[in-house]
Amino acid sequence: MIEDHPRVGRLQKDAVTESIVLNMGPQHPSMHGVFHMQLELSGETILAARPVIGYLHRGIEKLAEHRTYAQCMVLVDRLDYISQYCNEWAYCRAIERLARIEVPERAEWLRTMYAELVRVTSHLMWFGSVGLDLGGWTPVIYAFIPRERIFDFFEATTGSRLMPNYLRFGGVKEDVDPAEMEALHAYLAKDLIDALDEFDGLVTGNEIFLSRQRGLAPMTVDQAHAWGVTGPMLRACGSTRDLRIDTPYGVYDRLDWESCTDTRGDALARYSVRMREMRESAKMALQCIERMPAGEVRTKVARVLRPPEGEVYVRHESTRGELGFHIVSDGSPKPYRFRVRSPAFMNVSSLPHLCAGAKISEFFAIFGGIDNVMAEIDR
């Protein structure tokens, strides 16, 4: 409990002060969207934190019940707008399992490549916003340079920078131009790694950054499981849970890579796990480009898909953690129930526990480490 926290407890015993309630957000520069945090402060120390969500609740789960399965892809894109391909893939896997659709070999490779590329861009965005939260302006601008380059590839091959609507049930929309892949390969092999090295030089080794992150808001594996935390945050506590290994999908079992884990469980561990994941993802995307077989990219599926009656739950390692789609079909062209298990929502639920007893400026270091996307939390 918060009262048992050593720092808070001492503070309350020693001095009788009146706490102030500070409403952080929903319109606040570093709230990563419209997130509202009620902080109860004693001086600059946070006594209690109450997250308020729902400012971006657009009713995606309800809207999806009025759309055909193919039209839902538009909503799925906008669910977590930083890792679109992961969302689309998870949704496609759910429908493919429901309707028993086979996916061609090349399409699986393409999907894996796009998912890993988007993991890179998502983590780049996170890196930039961590820099912004901690008061630096440069990291975010630097992070956008490789991001723009990968977006160029997305746009040239799928037609949109952010909202691709590229994956289809039983494959992908269209094949990728080999020349584009060639250019991307050259970029990933050298320039991206150079950029990541530069980020390490700018932020990772910086003593100011280390002093703000080391030992901050530690979390044990048991706590993480209790709060439902998944993804890089869970792997930073020493767990090896990675759905890409535990429940293999795509071509992850055929790639040469390893899941990034850390045992310290603090904010710095979360940071280093994500930084290493970016390199691993770039490596995986490179392998995909090199070893991708030729062939079909799309199986023929009815334009208006009518999956048989039944329900399905698919787990997927999104950039933020375990993304789940629970879809109930009644045999009609529209889903009967469409439910999303959003990783960021579960991760944010650990926030009140993590930041009790922290300072205001520590709060942003903790908050940045969670890497939340409000659109996914509020849906």
């Binding site: 102030i20 500070l22 606040h28 520069p29 570093s30 600059e44 820099g131 912004l132 939260d133 901690l134 008061g135 630096g136 302006w137 440069t138 601008i141 630097y142 340079i145 700018l202 932020v203 910086n206 100011i208 950054f209 002093s211 703000r212 300072k359 205001i360 400026s361 520590e362 709060f363 942003f364 270091a365």
Partner: protein, 322 residues
């Protein structure tokens, strides 16, 4: 008082105001340009030649913005805050020499006068933050007060080392004592400490706690709009000018640039180099945490500055002309 002296002083004061305004405009442009190039982007570009007219556009806009005073703000102090922050910085400029003997008032206690004026500035920041009736700016104001008070101590102790070595508190004498070797060479630890504390005194990144943008919306000036915000910005740039000027005078040899003849040009050059360095720091570093920053002052900088003072004292008594 003689009418002629009065007139000269008046003209000098007016000249200082002009210099002040000119500096704010130049620094506003230069900061955006330099930070832009650090970010690999060109910065202001299309408003005049390389965006040189950008500060004028900003100023015109701020002048014509609606002047909001929050409902429950303390109206008097809301007005007074920026003035209390600007005026001491401006007064400190009066004793800062530009060339040998060329200052509005080249007083014998110039060193202490500048520090005395700098001590008033946090009071202005605290007023700015407190009077707006806003929790963010209140937190910023308290941070500002704590930060500026705790960083003044090591700064003054280091300045005592200079006083010990130069044997005079008159700024012109201090500069002239560096005609061959700068105090930056003689007292490198002192320079380091003085530089850190000066950056902290100016509320510049990585010590910009009072206006931590990502934490406390806009910190102390959250409620300031229009030209009052412009005044707060002016206070910050002037504080930066005074701080860098002190660094140049105390450690970087003022108008001396050995082996070239002394000239105010060197002083201005050094002044803007130091300010560019401070902007470079802003483009590179993340913000320190507020309690780390306080710890840094009390645990490390104050003992280090005392050690520096002892060292300087021993050296100054041992070697003549140190």
């Amino acid at each position: 008082m003689n009418a002629r002296i009065f007139l000269t002083q008046l003209l000098g004061a007016l000249g200082l105001i002009v210099i002040l305004g000119f500096n704010v405009i130049i620094m506003d442009w230069w900061e955006r340009k330099l930070v832009g190039h650090i970010h690999r982007r060109p910065g202001p570009m299309h408003t005049g030649w390389h965006g040189i007219l950008q500060p004028f556009a900003d100023m015109l806009k701020m002048l014509s913005k609606e002047d909001i005073v929050p409902d429950r703000a303390d109206r008097l102090f809301f007005w007074l805050g920026p003035a209390v922050a600007v005026v001491p910085a401006f007064m400190a400029l009066a004793v800062l020499p530009l060339a040998p003997g060329f200052a509005l008032a080249d007083i014998g206690n110039g060193l202490f006068f500048v520090f005395a004026m700098q001590t008033i500035m946090p009071f202005g920041y605290t007023l700015i933050g407190w009077s707006g009736h806003n929790k963010w700016s209140l937190v910023g104001a308290l941070r500002s007060a704590a930060q500026l008070i705790s960083y003044e101590i090591p700064m003054l102790i280091v300045a005592l080392g200079i006083l010990l070595a130069a044997g005079s508190a008159r700024l012109t004498d201090i500069v002239n004592a560096q005609s061959t070797v700068w105090y930056a060479v003689k007292q490198p630890i002192g320079l380091l400490i003085f530089f850190i504390t000066a950056v902290a005194e100016m509320n510049r990144s990585p010590f910009d706690m009072p206006e931590a943008e990502s934490e406390l919306v806009a910190g102390i000036h959250t409620e300031y709009a229009g030209m009052k915000f412009g005044l707060v910005m002016m206070a910050e740039y002037t504080a930066m000018l005074v701080g860098s000027w002190m660094i140049v005078l105390l450690f970087l040899g003022g108008w001396h640039l050995w082996p070239l003849p002394p000239s105010p040009v060197w002083l201005v050059l050094k002044l803007y180099l130091v300010q560019s360095g401070i902007i470079w720091l802003r483009g590179t570093y993340l913000r320190l945490r507020v309690d780390t920053m306080m710890e840094m002052s009390w645990k490390y900088l104050i003992p280090a500055s005392l050690a520096n003072l002892m060292l300087v004292g021993v050296l100054a008594t041992t070697f003549k002309g140190f």
